[in-house]
Symmetry: C2
Subunit: 349 residues, 2 copies
């Protein structure tokens, strides 16, 4: 009786923990990710001069006119695939690589990255796995993971569901940026392959596929891979091949523009770099699509038009180059181990 009363009083006395926010889990997570995150640091991260983090050397002495290029993004409903398959280690790579490509098409290289991870209930191993993926991709792209926020928000996210967003800041020398005004009639479109859907079209893909299949059923049409495997393929970063090209070719004269193929598809994204009076002439038969796209199209009975609008269809980045440079650029890409395919050209509209 007395014990029961005590218990009731204890329960009535509210604490942060009882309100659903795990302070201990937060501290454990910070302890676990610190060494992983530190590995992404370089000499430009100024940890010595402040205890709050997020400090980065802002001097660019080798640039005439440094331009800070930044982008914020999420991974859309690809996050549902990670949650449903309980494979949390690659979604962070998707996010970082997506952001790297977004600033790369302006001609910028990454400097630093900050993430936002929000969940209903903080599970340390899940958050650690997600942030491990972020750190891995940051390291691969020479980008410091200098900040972030982990939020526990019961009532917004269900249970262990989570969302992930991030911001990249990079730098470009103004005179070495791509300029869409250079895109001209006759320019050739060189496509670089994607690994799959990257991070776009997942709401449509899930609706189409999951009405008929489960995520973990192996598919003959995918060479025995499961749907989950195919949908979780990591969004590629195109930083290395593009940086390699920029050692030999000049942005502006040799490469007119780049286009990162995200929501809106090949035409939607590439049209943004094509000046008025010109348009795209795409040869849709020029490459073979990864089999996951056919499976999606057939399962959902999706029109070809809708497929082209929602998905990259196997092309993750497009370069718009003068016709007389196309051979040399393709040669350099192939020598670097990068497949490429001419998928069309720029014509008068």
């Amino acid at each position: 009786m007395v014990i029961e009363e005590v218990r009731e009083v204890q329960q009535k006395s509210l604490t942060y923990e009882k309100a659903g926010v795990s302070i201990d889990a937060g501290e454990e997570l910070v302890r676990k990710i610190k060494p992983i995150v530190r590995k992404t640091f370089n000499e430009r991260v100024l940890t010595d001069i402040g205890g709050f983090g997020g400090l980065f050397d802002g001097r660019f002495p080798d640039m005439k006119f440094p331009v800070l290029v930044s982008s914020t993004d999420g991974v859309g409903t690809k996050i549902k695939i990670a949650i449903e398959t309980r494979r949390h280690d690659t979604i962070g790579q998707d996010l970082v690589n997506h952001c790297v490509n977004d600033i790369l098409v302006c001609g910028a290289r990454p400097l630093f990255f900050l993430d936002y991870f929000a969940t209903g209930k903080l599970e340390v191993y899940v958050a650690q796995s997600v942030i491990g993926g972020l750190a891995k991709a940051c390291e691969e792209n020479g980008c410091a993971l200098i900040g972030g926020e982990t939020a526990e928000m019961p009532g917004i996210y269900l249970g262990e569901d989570y969302d992930l967003a991030g911001t990249i800041v990079g730098v470009a020398d103004r005179d070495r940026m791509f300029r869409r005004e250079n895109v001209a009639e006759g320019d050739v479109l060189i496509g670089l392959p994607s690994t799959g859907l990257h991070t776009n079209g997942y709401s449509l893909a899930r609706k189409a596929l999951l009405a008929r299949y489960t995520l973990n059923s192996p598919q003959a049409a995918l060479g025995g891979e499961t749907i989950g495997d195919a949908l979780l393929k990591v969004h590629r970063s195109y930083l290395r091949p593009v940086q390699h090209l920029l050692e030999q070719f000049d942005p502006g004269t040799d490469i007119h523009a780049l286009s990162h193929i995200t929501g809106g598809g090949i035409v939607g994204n590439t049209s943004r770099v094509v000046p008025n009076g010109l348009t795209l002439n795409i040869d849709w038969k020029a490459w073979s699509r990864p089999p996951i796209f056919r499976l999606i199209q057939e399962s959902g009975n999706i029109s070809e038009e809708e497929m082209r609008r929602a998905f990259n269809l196997g092309i993750g980045l497009i370069m718009l180059v003068p016709a007389d440079r196309a051979d040399a650029i393709e040669h350099a890409l192939n020598a670097f181990g990068e497949a490429s395919v001419r998928i069309g050209n720029v014509i008068r509209s």
Copy 2:
């Protein structure tokens, strides 16, 4: 019969729209927010050189050693109050002001901001209202809203629920940054008032208050305000008073450190800028707390210790200043129209 068949085929043929992603709403939103966002731009936003946005002048010729200071944050479960009261116009201000303060305590002024807005179903008026709040606070803080992502994620967010996060990038001259190593025995703690909870402790506050009250019931204890009014009070930006001080006082000699009071409370946050061997001596009776805190404490039967850990209790920013500068600094603050209160000092531990 024929009509029914046609209808069935149409329904079976999936599109992005049918999968729950409203492309038209997205386009309408972009059209509506463009002029609002443009108002935050200044001459350092380089819109002319690219169609992708997010380009910012990276030259700082008046600084010896520019340091880029960045921070990512969300607004925690304060977002639930905005959603439940359907008052979406201030939550963006909370986020921006929070981020401004986070970099201000390093000595940085804001340059630009990027937001992430994710929802289950994109309601244009809601998103417009939220982004309007972001833009308002960006303008007030001289910060350009140069990028962002709006994501529609049915299956992660319920219905019209949403989450909001953001990233700020600012700049500080390395020689003009606050250095916690300067904090010394005898330093005086000058507190600047908060408007209420700012953006911390909402899970606990909701649990405590909403077991007894509704958000829209006026409270005598709050001078007739509703609980919702009190909980939605906008997180203050301390940029203006601190900038004003820095015109007359020197960071380093006159102001040793600043502390932004967020999760962890006065002690948790301010301890981060106090060197080893020293500790904080807080006079908890030195100021009167806004009435919302007593209401929370009584409703939830929350211990004083837990209150101090979860909430700012009426003090949003603390300055650690040498005792012989405290009078002059308080005088300057008061002349600027800023209330201040001495809440303690730094002692040997």
